[in-house]
Subunit: 434 residues, 2 copies
């Protein structure tokens, strides 16, 4: 290569590299979720990153449309990077409907892109994690999505997640009773902002919208809860009374709740009538998830039941229920909760002639499920310790015994040594794995 100026290494605005300290916990979470979704019989799919612009735009006009990252490709086609995993899934369902057995339970964890101007903490490239059940409309599938949400957070070791559930059909009943169902889209969007703009501002905007103080107050009294921790069924009873009695939606909620009780997870769920989700395609249950003590970061897992997902691309009626975990947001909230550890142990290189022995020891430790690094060169020990520290490796092995299979195990934190056999080393190191 000729001598030349170097090219300034940089990434595009709104994009970022992921260093190992961020990527290790992310891969661990994704792997946990994949395994857990599979345990419910959900299957993975994938779709292209790039699609026809007309497919992703759909009927157009939505909030997300302005954010679509689009281009003209070499062939003059209008193409765009997917901005979520829902629209490609709708297209996918229509395109493959004869290859899929309904109900179809899929998950999809991958990147999406937005062309919006990046703000603090928001990026143009981020990872979504969606799971949906398509082809049925019943309490059983609603309850399974909620069960999968609760158990996923359990599996991710996030104990302080609280699931806020409401029902769009119940809210629409209220709007119908009040004679303002024609304003439902605007009212939904307004109520959805409650957490952001506060109760007073919501009331003022509501009044301006419905032009009737009593109606505004009725809506506000429906979505407000005096006691945040009011038990699910108490809230449901209260709301049913406000709606003038039970209907198919309140009964659906009662059945869903009975299934949560059957599983013993009902205490993780609150009936929160202020949850509406801004998007107008939801028709049944809707939900958001907040981390107790970190509510300000917003919902880390949201979704709901929709009546007809793929109607833009097929005449087949496909109701469904689904949820989406905001992985990057969740990881940011959990920062520091996960160990960044490149290896469990480093085999030091103190005597080059021992390297074949080091290879054999590493092999046996790896077979026992340990993460093992070898130091490649017989450098001075401080340099080797420094490398171990930079990689957050807590222990080191020094091959210094005549008998192969026995060596010194050093704790790099306490700087203490112990002579151990391979079997003893495995037991010790396994016990301290994160």
């Amino acid at each position: 290569m000729k001598d030349q100026e170097i090219i300034q290494p940089r990434v595009l605005k709104g994009f970022r590299d992921s260093l190992p300290s961020a990527q290790i916990p992310k891969e661990a979470l994704v792997s946990t979720l994949q395994k857990h979704f599979s345990s419910y019989g959900f299957v993975p799919i994938d779709t292209p990153a790039l699609e026809y612009m007309e497919i992703l735009l759909g009927k157009g006009g939505g909030e997300t449309d302005k954010q679509i990252f689009h281009f003209t490709d070499q062939g003059g086609r209008e193409v765009a990077l997917r901005f979520d995993l829902t629209v490609p899934f709708a297209r996918y369902l229509a395109q493959h409907e004869h290859e899929l057995a309904l109900p179809f339970k899929r998950y999809h964890i991958d990147k999406v892109w937005r062309g919006e101007n990046p703000q603090k903490g928001r990026y143009r490239e981020f990872t979504q994690c969606d799971f949906d059940i398509v082809g049925v409309d019943n309490a059983e599938s609603d309850a399974e999505i909620l069960s999968l949400m609760a158990s996923s957070f359990e599996k991710m070791n996030v104990k302080h997640a609280r699931f806020h559930v409401a029902h769009r059909g119940m809210f629409n009943t209220l709007l119908g009773n009040l004679g303002v169902e024609n304003l439902s889209v605007d009212i939904l969007r307004l109520v959805d902002k409650l957490r952001k703009i506060g109760e007073q501002e919501t009331e003022e905007q509501l009044r301006a919208l419905v032009k009737n103080e009593r109606t505004a107050r009725a809506i506000l009294s429906y979505i407000s809860k005096e006691d945040e921790k009011e038990p699910f069924e108490t809230t449901l009873d209260r709301l049913a009374a406000l709606l003038g009695g039970e209907n198919e939606h309140t009964l659906r909620m009662r059945t869903i709740h009975s299934y949560l009780k059957a599983e013993g997870i009902e205490e993780r769920f609150l009936f929160d009538p202020s949850i509406t989700r801004g998007l107008d395609y939801y028709t049944g249950i809707v939900y958001e998830t907040f981390l107790e003590g970190s509510e300000q970061i917003g919902s880390v897992c949201s979704g709901g039941r929709y009546n007809d997902l793929a109607s833009l691309y097929t005449k087949t009626h496909l109701p469904g229920v689904g949820s989406s975990i905001g992985l990057d947001r969740l990881l940011a909230a959990l920062e520091g909760a996960y160990d960044y550890r490149a290896s469990d142990v480093l085999i030091l290189n103190t005597d080059k002639s021992r390297y074949p022995e080091a290879i054999r020891v590493a092999k046996r430790l790896r077979e026992a499920g340990l993460k093992v690094a070898l130091f490649f060169e017989p450098k001075k020990l401080p340099a080797q310790y420094k490398w171990a520290e930079a990689n957050a490796i807590p222990k080191a092995i020094i091959l210094d015994r005549d008998e192969e299979g026995s060596f010194t195990l050093r704790d790099l934190g306490t700087r203490t040594n112990a002579v151990v056999s391979i079997g003893e080393a495995v037991a010790l190191l396994k016990k301290e794995q994160p």
Copy 2:
């Protein structure tokens, strides 16, 4: 939503959806590899899908440049989708060199894009899987990459992979001895095509290139092996003699081979002097991997040692050694070797009032590590069996006993039933997991 024409669901030319039957084995392979790479102390990184065109083009002029999928974005910037994981890694190393401790061992498994015209079996979007050790130049790191290749195929349960290794430095010594080192780039590319165009065509083109029959024959005799299975060290002895004796490169190969022997994996490796890798940045060992009986699909894992990866973006000298598994190609070759099974067992819905019990049974089976699906509606049994078959679910549970925790387990293949406890069901089902 108003009545409207449906949008024809379709994907861009050269792109494809991944159905669960393809995505399940792919995720399983990726997960196996992530875990295995980690066991060697390799850490994951990620880089943006989209980069500045000037970064990805680098010095330009290469074969891959024509294939870069590039666009002008909304801000008028020339941007491109990454076409491999090597160039972004070089940029990443330069940009983060003060945050990384050398040697840096990373893996990166993700999608790349090519704008070339798609041909049979080639797509514009595919997955690469790279692993590299950067910051050292020694036999220990060379041997670790080879060890990781061999054990990765072992872990993926691909027993018929054969690793063909050569050394670019040895080949350059030959060209130097013959006085044709100035033609080395063209000779490398030509020899790299040997497998495709055959020995005779290679000889003719070589003769035309070096304009000397004796030189052409000397090169050809160096790269040819009469006995395909000639032991590694025998080939090395023979080639060292052709080069006029041992030099630093032959000695490096001897040390690498001694480490493969220390690990007991030397029989998986052949010294194959016809391996040159077309790319001119390789300077040391080079390798390709063929599946015995499926050689025609080409190499499924290739790479080598390079002298200076990131020189376009930094003045820091960064030698390294790395390898890349062609996941999509490998999966195509292994098609059918993996079970597509959405769940291990389906709990049938024969009595709606039993659904809470079904939820509890499913929970216990999942906690035991099983994949369990619930049928949501009390449909007729043939419909439930049909769904199980479409999802390749081999067993069903019928809740039909008075005592909770005991039920009928049905083998959907043999159509035989047995009454079992939960504990017995777990044991039976675990035994038959793939």
